[in-house]
């Protein structure tokens, strides 16, 4: 997938400007940046949820949305209505719906796929739980299972590991790493610099524009980080610590 000179925003307000990037098939890429820096906007453009003002976008060989059946998008957890009357099983089964079309009901093959996906994320025993009764980590696991059940070629994940425990983070990233190993492309946004550096092959730091792009060692050079995070960054010895408000809602644009 590739973006060439892409600019986009909401209601006349610029969110990303002149972004050009290529992401190879089968790679594991994190998009980093501060709140309002345009991470979610980039993801939405690739998902075909937001039409850019300028520039060209190619996703899976066509314009965004053309190969939508091969794309799985996981929204930020804050945008999900956790009181909604569905179980984990129901949510994961939703991953199968777009492939079925309007007239077909889920069959045994779909149920097998759902069961496999739940096992992969370690939620096999939670299928019948209402989603509101899950912990934060379990909620991310359930949504990753939904993406897996869709058997996509491109995973687009908005903050999949933000604010979850270390075990969940390791488990989810192991699953995504395996998917990348099978030739699937994974793109995730994150606030979490440490997780990004630890788990992803390539980091793209955005703050309206691309400010750094490369492997974790290159991107985490502190002058680049200082540029995107401004005063929120402190260096203690050889460790860089981000004083970020990772749990704040990302104020990028309207909900829909």
């Amino acid at each position: 997938m590739s973006l060439t000179s892409v600019s986009a925003g909401y209601d006349g307000r610029v969110a990303v400007e002149d972004v050009t990037l290529d992401i190879a098939t089968g790679s594991l890429t994190a998009i980093l940046g501060p709140n309002g820096g345009g991470k979610t906007t980039l993801l939405k453009i690739v998902a075909g949820l937001l039409r850019p003002w300028r520039g060209t976008v190619l996703v899976l060989g066509g314009p965004p949305g053309r190969e939508a059946h091969r794309v799985a998008y996981v929204p930020q957890a804050e945008l999900v209505d956790w009181g909604f009357p569905v179980s984990v099983w129901d949510v994961v089964m939703m991953g199968r719906y777009p492939g079925l079309g309007p007239f077909r009901r889920p069959g045994s093959h779909d149920r097998d796929r759902v069961r496999d996906a739940l096992t992969q994320v370690g939620m096999g025993d939670r299928a019948q739980t209402q989603i509101g009764a899950l912990s934060g980590g379990q909620r991310r696991r359930a949504f990753l299972a939904r993406a897996l059940a869709a058997d996509p070629d491109l995973y687009l994940l908005d903050e999949p590991v933000t604010g979850v425990d270390v075990t969940t983070q390791e488990d989810l990233m192991a699953v995504l790493g395996a998917e990348a190993g099978r030739g699937k492309t994974v793109v995730a946004t994150t606030h979490d610099l440490a997780a990004a550096a630890h788990h992803f092959e390539r980091l793209i730091a955005v703050n309206r524009r691309i400010v750094a792009d490369g492997n974790p060692d290159q991107v985490l050079a502190s002058d680049v980080l200082a540029e995107i995070y401004g005063g929120h960054l402190i260096t203690i010895g050889d460790k860089t610590v981000l004083l970020d408000d990772a749990h704040h809602h990302d104020p990028e644009g309207p909900r829909r």
């Binding site: 209601d11 939405k44 998902a47 075909g48 949820l49 949305g65 939508a68 059946h69 794309v71 799985a72 998008y73 996981v74 929204p75 945008l79 999900v80 209505d81 956790w82 009181g83 909604f84 009357p85 569905v86 179980s87 129901d90 949510v91 939703m94 991953g95 719906y97 777009p98 079925l100 309007p102 007239f103 009901r105 889920p106 209402q130 509101g132 009764a133 939904r146 869709a150 996509p152 687009l156 829909r256």
Partner: protein
């Protein structure tokens, strides 16, 4: 037992029973999605906006279904469009268009020289006066709505729960949104004679709201809402017959009573719920 069977000797009562229970079921099914999408206010608005269509149809001596459908569908699509394009909050756009359309209806109504009783029936419902022709039209429209929801239930569910995820994976979420608004409009047209413009929102929202107090599973929620939507009109119609009270209002009161009972004794909100706390 005579109290149960006596009314069934009247054909108008049987017609009313069929019409109001069909209305109850169609409203309940569409109402589940209305409640989950947070569109209760929208339902109220669309029903009020059907009024000028009914008056127009009366003035032009056309079928009221047609006038109501055109006015309700146009208003619902206009609300969707103004919200998306006009940079307005949804409830603001609804408030403007809904009051404007209802005012247009009242204006036209007041220009009719002689008082017209059957137009008044559209405001408060008059299901006991339903004709066989109207019943057939209403049944056909109601079945169309149910068939569309039956075919698209999973697409509607996914796009209600997670519009971003659904759109990204290829569901036509925007078209489904507009289609659903049109379904609300059709449902309201079907319901006009039974409960009237003012109270139809209760038929739409109360069964689903009652079911939400009792379960957190979608299929059970739908089944419970349908049960309330089916039973309440039957009980309400008998009560209105025995008590010689307005039928539409009695049906709505029965639904409200069922809701209050569920609120008081339900597992999620009731007075006797387990101390362990509510799920979710």
């Amino acid at each position: 037992m005579n109290a149960i069977f006596d009314p069934l000797r009247y054909e108008f009562f049987i017609r009313a029973l069929i019409a109001s229970s069909l209305v109850g079921v169609v409203c309940a099914v569409v109402g589940v999605y209305i409640v989950l999408r947070g569109l209760a206010f929208m339902g109220d608005a669309i029903s009020h906006s059907a009024f000028p269509g009914v008056v127009f149809a009366y003035l032009l001596k056309g079928p009221f279904y047609l006038g109501a459908t055109i006015a309700a569908v146009l208003t619902s699509l206009a609300i969707g469009w103004v919200t998306r394009r006009g940079n307005l909050r949804g409830d603001t756009a609804i408030g403007v268009l809904f009051a404007g359309m209802f005012a247009l209806g009242v204006f036209l109504f007041s220009r009719i020289p002689n008082y017209v009783g059957d137009l008044f029936g559209f405001l408060f419902g008059e299901v006991l006066g339903i004709s066989t022709g109207d019943l057939i039209a209403l049944t056909a429209l109601g079945l169309i709505v149910l068939a569309i929801v039956y075919v698209l239930w999973k697409e509607l569910l996914y796009s209600t729960f997670d519009p971003l995820g659904a759109a990204a994976s290829g569901l036509p979420v925007e078209q489904l949104d507009y289609l659903f608004l049109a379904l609300i409009a059709l449902t309201i047209v079907v319901s006009l004679q039974a409960v009237g413009i003012i109270m139809v929102v209760a038929m739409l929202v109360t069964p689903a709201a009652t079911a939400q107090l009792l379960t957190l599973r979608f299929t059970r929620l739908m089944a419970l809402a349908i049960a309330v939507g089916l039973v309440a009109p039957i009980v309400g119609l008998y009560l209105s017959f025995w008590l010689d009270a307005a039928s539409g209002a009695t049906i709505v009161l029965v639904e409200t009573a069922i809701f209050l009972v569920a609120l008081l004794v339900g597992p999620r909100s009731g007075l006797f719920r387990a101390k362990a706390g509510r799920p979710g």
